[in-house]
């Protein structure tokens, strides 16, 4: 045992193809000789490396190398090579070398083959990763990698629709299987306590005894079956034939599709041995064996024949593994090896035929043996192996298979059926082999081929020759050729103890031999019969299952799933706002209700304030206003805004009433600005007249009823909640702290203001940032503002000149100076400006001690300026005052944050306030809190942001005027 060896040999082996792929990716894209050379050398090096490792694994030795990756997930890079892995590694690398060579000649000189070779080598690496995995999770990693790379390889000719579809199908099916595998592996890992292969293999009994065993097994099987194209997931493999033939030869015969059976064999000691395993694996294998072989007989495309045959052979291997017999497992391993050799060579041969003749249609191809005798012979030998002709390797493993079916001990009908199935499948195999071999190479030479066939270059044949030779050698002298390898490979599969078996060509006359004979004879007869029928134009499609195409089912299924998904989204989601808002409100209400249900709510017992009649009247006004606004907002917007003003006012009075002077001040100025904002916006909204275009359908009424119910419920809930809280004694609040420290440490008597600029200055900083962000957004949005068509025209009022005979409305300002109805307001507003500025200064300076502060002061300034625009027009104001609101915002933010940073400079936390005490003659002691500078920043931001928003909105009207200017001439004529 070489476990734990630090020798990096396996890592090197694994990395080699990846590095090679990386190198090839950067080589000139059409230098196929160089690319093939590099790739081939890399593959060859890997192959040599693998071969040199054989002694280490021959007698049950295991090489393990561990590299930590994510130990906490149980996911480490564990490279583990035993005999079985070695065999696979050998297949992967050796056939890799051959395919590299072959592809050099197969690919067109115009093909960008760098990508091909890069991905090819990457695939080789991924496949090596799968087989060398000593950790199940790691195996999943490489498993999915092979799916991915195969997707890219199948889609190599990506402009072809068949390649796109085939690639995607392969990816979805095998990738999906991979995900199942992942789940299965995790379940197994949880049962076994580790994902390490050694640990899992040792915990086989534990796994099988677990209640989760069926689930884990099914998940793992899903992974394996999809990868190995088992029925009913087999359909992707024929579609994957859109790949370049070297890819098919490599992935779809020798390596990737074998990953599934590799996994079954790998976990055989853990999962096998139960009835469930037998029925699932064996049943699937048998079905696949039959269906694949049956479908293969009727294909007219060379590669599709091979693809279905591959499906069938994979079914055979699966069936063997499912028989729960060590001997069958050995046979399975043997067949894996054999199938890889003959199928790879057949694919390559098919590729040559395709390459030379320009078609793969069996119907068109005839008598090629004359044009390409050497290729023909090679192909025929390989076909023989596929058919199970004696003295070729296929015969041997197939005989072992027949023997196993016969020896199976199970229920009587199974014992009887299985050999039959095997024989029938054998017959089918002979039929399709004959179709492949005989049909195209014998008979009168075709004349209507797209290209005149001739022998391919010698080097292109070389890989086939090599493989066919292997078929022969194994077929003739199995024990000598592969006995050791097979023993080494099969030993880990069956759990370390090999069953008795003999690799010999001749075992005497036995049931298997008879079955083989029946198969061959039956096959030949069947072939002749089929051929005659097909010459008559019958049976060109697969009878029975021809119209049930897995591919179509898959595509249609995907389509239906997509459509269903869309329908679902349509039902479960929405693109409309109302349902979203409804959902939010309802969710809030329902969750709150549910939350309160657990612990019932009750009113508190705090002493209530006696009601005061004026206040009651006040809130009657407030509620009427609120309800009125809700009712009027649709048709009488101005009224709604007015009523809203009433609500704001009452709110403001409530603040004043209940000891919140700061809030009252803020509310009142905000109210003014908000109302103005609404009015500014109203200009661009369409007229909406009651009763016009109203469809008062039942549905609308129902919806309104529903909304009303929810609104009332939520309102009631809010009221109840607020009442419950209002009547409770105040909790142990943190507030006394603020009250006691506000003056002594915050330097101000107005605790609310001290909180804003000191205790919770960070909130204020965020708040002014919000203001700034909103102002910027408004500005940016309105720069691109495109007024609605019918609002571009001047408002009705401004057009109605004729009716207003004594009008001063046409041009209320002359040379910027207001006249007529605006004269008096303008003078008043201008008089108010200095007054307002003084008031603002007053609010700003007193803020720390008395109600007021930077925010109110800022809004006072903003409203005073707004008033000027209102009375005198924006242009007048802007002609005279360079207000650059963005600068104000910038300055304010800088001032506030630098004030905060000032504290840092003195070693205090951000925003720590400090009061400087200065004593001046006459004036006495002065206290200058740093918070004042912070508040100055607040004020500046408020002024800037408010003005930015308001002027940006107001400018729209000016723009509209400007747009109208050219047409102003004919305006009076219209009216």
């Amino acid at each position: 045992m070489a476990a734990g060896a630090v020798s990096p040999s396996l890592l090197l082996l694994l990395l080699l193809p990846f590095l090679g792929g990386l190198v090839t990716a950067f080589l000139p894209t059409r230098a196929r000789t160089v690319l093939a050379g590099v790739a081939g050398l890399v593959a060859a090096a890997a192959a040599v490396k693998v071969i040199t490792l054989f002694p280490l694994v021959r007698d049950g030795g295991v090489i393990v190398e561990t590299f930590a990756w994510v130990p906490s997930l149980g996911l480490d890079l564990v490279l583990r090579m035993d005999g079985f892995a070695w065999m696979f590694a050998l297949v992967v690398t050796v056939i890799g070398v051959l395919v590299c060579l072959y592809a050099r000649y197969y690919m067109s000189p115009d093909d960008p083959v760098a990508r091909f070779y890069a991905m090819f080598l990457a695939f080789m690496g991924a496949m090596l990763g799968v087989v060398l995995s000593g950790n199940l999770l790691q195996m999943v990693v490489f498993w999915e990698l092979t799916s991915l790379v195969s997707f890219l390889l199948i889609g190599y000719w990506h402009h072809r629709v068949d390649a796109q579809r085939g690639a995607r199908m392969a990816l979805v099916v095998t990738g999906g299987g991979g995900l199942c595998l992942l789940a299965g592996v995790i379940v197994i890992g949880q049962i076994a306590g580790s994902y390490e292969l050694d640990a899992v293999l040792a915990a086989g009994a534990l796994v099988r005894a677990s209640p989760l065993y069926p689930l884990a097994m099914v998940l793992v099987l899903l992974g394996a079956f999809t990868k190995s194209a088992q029925f009913p997931f087999h359909f992707w493999l024929p579609r994957a034939m859109a790949a370049p033939t070297p890819v098919s030869a490599y992935l779809h015969s020798a390596t990737m599709v074998k990953a599934g059976v590799f996994l079954l064999a790998r976990l055989w000691p853990v999962l096998a041995g139960t009835d469930l395993w037998f029925w699932l694996v064996g049943g699937t294998g048998a079905a696949t064996l039959l269906i694949g072989a049956y479908a293969a007989m009727f294909q007219n495309d060379l590669k599709r024949v091979l693809a279905y045959s591959t499906v069938s052979h994979l079914g055979l291997i699966t069936l063997l593994l499912g028989l729960n017999s060590p001997l069958a497992a050995v046979a399975a391993v043997f067949h894996i090896l054999n199938h890889a050799t003959f199928k790879a060579s057949l694919f390559m041969a098919a590729g040559i035929v395709d390459h030379e003749t320009g078609t793969r249609d069996i119907g068109k191809l005839n008598g090629l043996i004359k044009a390409m005798p050497r290729t023909g012979v090679l192909a025929l030998v390989a076909t023989g192996a596929m058919a199970g002709v004696p003295l070729l390797n296929g015969f041997l493993s197939k005989e072992m298979f027949f023997a196993e079916t016969v020896m199976l001990r199970s229920q009587p009908w199974v014992e009887w059926t299985l050999p039959l199935v095997a024989t029938v499948a054998g017959i089918f195999a002979v039929v399709y082999s004959l179709r492949f071999g005989y049909d195209i190479f014998f008979g009168p030479p075709s004349t209507d081929l797209p290209r005149q066939p001739e022998e391919p270059p010698r080097w292109m044949r070389l890989p086939i020759q090599f493989l066919v030779l292997a078929c022969l050698v194994v077929g003739v002298a199995p024990e000598w050729a592969v006995g050791g390898v097979l023993a080494a490979a099969a030993r880990p599969v069956v759990g370390g103890v090999l069953p008795e078996y003999s690799l010999a060509v001749w075992h005497g006359i036995s049931p298997p031999l008879l079955m083989s004979l029946v198969a061959i004879v039956g096959g030949v007869l069947g072939y002749l019969w089929l051929r005659r029928r097909q010459e008559r134009g019958e049976l060109l499609d697969t009878p029975g299952i021809g119209h049930i195409s897995g591919r179509e089912l898959f595509e249609a299924g995907l389509l239906a799933a997509t459509r269903a998904a869309r329908t679902f989204l349509h039902v479960a989601g929405t693109r409309r706002l109302q349902p979203q808002v409804f959902a939010i409100v309802a969710a809030g209400f329902v969750l709150a209700l549910l939350a309160s249900r657990g612990v019932p709510l009750e009113w508190g017992d705090r002493a209530r304030l006696p009601p005061s009649q004026p206040f009651v009247l006040l809130w009657i006004i407030g509620m009427v206003c609120a309800i009125g606004a809700a009712a009027m907002a649709k048709f009488h917007r101005l009224v709604a805004i007015t009523l809203m003003g009433g609500v704001g006012l009452v709110t403001c009075l409530t603040f004043a009433w209940f000891s919140a002077p700061d809030l009252a001040l803020t509310q009142i100025v905000v109210e003014v600005v908000t109302t103005t904002l609404f009015l500014l916006g109203l200009r661009w909204l369409p007229m909406r007249l009651e009763g016009v275009g109203e469809r008062d359908a039942l549905r609308g009424r129902l919806r309104r009823g529903r909304d009303l119910l929810l609104a009332i419920a939520v309102g009631g809930g809010m009221a109840a909640l607020s009442y419950a809280l209002l009547t409770r004694p105040a909790p142990q609040s943190i507030s006394p702290f603020f009250l006691s420290r506000a003056y002594s440490e915050g330097g101000g008597t107005n605790v609310v203001n001290v909180m804003l600029v000191d205790f919770r200055a960070l909130d204020t900083l965020g708040e002014i940032t919000v203001l700034g962000a909103v102002a910027l957004t408004v500005f940016a949005l309105l720069r691109r503002f495109r007024p609605p068509a019918e609002s571009v025209a001047q408002p009705l009022q401004q057009r109605a000149v004729a009716a207003d005979t004594g009008t001063d409305l046409v041009a209320p300002s002359r040379d910027g100076e207001p006249v007529g109805y605006l004269l008096v307001p303008a003078v008043m507003a201008r008089l108010l400006l200095p007054v307002a500025l003084v008031v603002a200064a007053h609010f700003f300076l007193r803020g720390h001690n008395e109600p007021g502060g930077g925010f109110v002061a800022g809004l006072v300034v903003a409203i005073a300026l707004l008033m000027q625009s209102l009375a005198s027009g924006t242009r007048w104001v802007e002609m005279r005052a360079q207000v650059r609101p963005v600068r104000w915002v910038a300055f304010g933010l800088l001032a506030a944050s630098t004030t905060g940073l000032g504290a840092v400079a003195f070693g205090f936390p951000f925003l720590t306030s400090h009061t400087a005490h200065v004593t001046l003659p006459v004036l006495g002691a002065l206290h200058v809190p740093s918070a004042a500078f912070f508040d100055l920043g607040v004020m500046t931001v408020v002024v800037g942001a408010t003005l930015l928003i308001l002027t940006a909105l107001a400018h729209q009207s000016i723009r509209a005027h400007r747009k109208l200017a050219p047409r102003a001439g004919d305006e009076p004529g219209e009216t």
């Binding site: 004594g806 001063d808 006249v819 007529g820 109805y821 004269l823 008096v824 303008a826 003078v827 008043m828 201008r830 008089l831 400006l833 200095p834 007054v835 500025l837 003084v838 008031v839 200064a841 007053h842 300076l845 000027q868 104001v877 005279r880 005052a881 006459v922 004036l923 006495g924 002065l926």
Partner: protein
């Protein structure tokens, strides 16, 4: 003088602002006076361009007298209109529009006139001609229209013309 002029471009305004500050600050400590002075000096120049720049008040005494008269009128009209409102059914005041020709042209003067008209109950400033030549008033109880116009012009317009023109 010119320095003073530049420093205090609008003495009346500055004075008003000074007083305003002291009122707002509710005190006259040295610190308050200082800040009041700063405010009174700083705000007018800041707002020059956004203000009507007009000649300083010509006759402070007339202005003061005018103000007193208005206050008296306000109280009187309050009582009159108040009674009319409460006993509207029986007293049936003669309310309608009256056009008053104007000689006053100064915007500030007109604004003052509007102010007075508005705060004295019984008259509502309704419309000013574009060329400022006449004024439309809504009057609560007119009686003799010519007499009303004459009284209005005499009581309010002429003092304002004196003050502003």
């Amino acid at each position: 003088m010119s320095v003073l002029r530049r420093l205090v471009p609008a003495p009346a305004l500055s004075l008003v602002l000074f007083a305003l500050w002291l009122l707002l600050a509710r005190g006259a400590a040295p610190a308050d006076l200082l800040v009041a002075a700063i405010v009174a000096l700083a705000v007018p120049p800041l707002t020059t361009r956004l203000r009507l720049v007009h000649a300083p008040l010509k006759r402070p005494a007339t202005a003061l007298r005018f103000a007193m008269r208005v206050m008296v009128d306000v109280v009187a009209s309050n009582i009159e209109v108040g009674l009319d409102v409460v006993f509207f059914r029986t007293r049936k005041p003669d309310s309608h529009f009256v056009v008053v020709p104007l000689e006053l042209r100064d915007p500030a003067g007109l604004a003052m006139l509007a102010l007075v008209t508005t705060i004295v109950p019984g008259t509502v400033w309704s419309e000013l001609a574009v060329d400022r030549s006449s004024l439309l008033l809504h009057v609560w109880n007119v009686g003799d229209e010519a007499a009303f116009v004459a009284r209005y012009k005499q009581r309010y317009e002429s003092p304002l013309r004196e003050i502003f023109e």
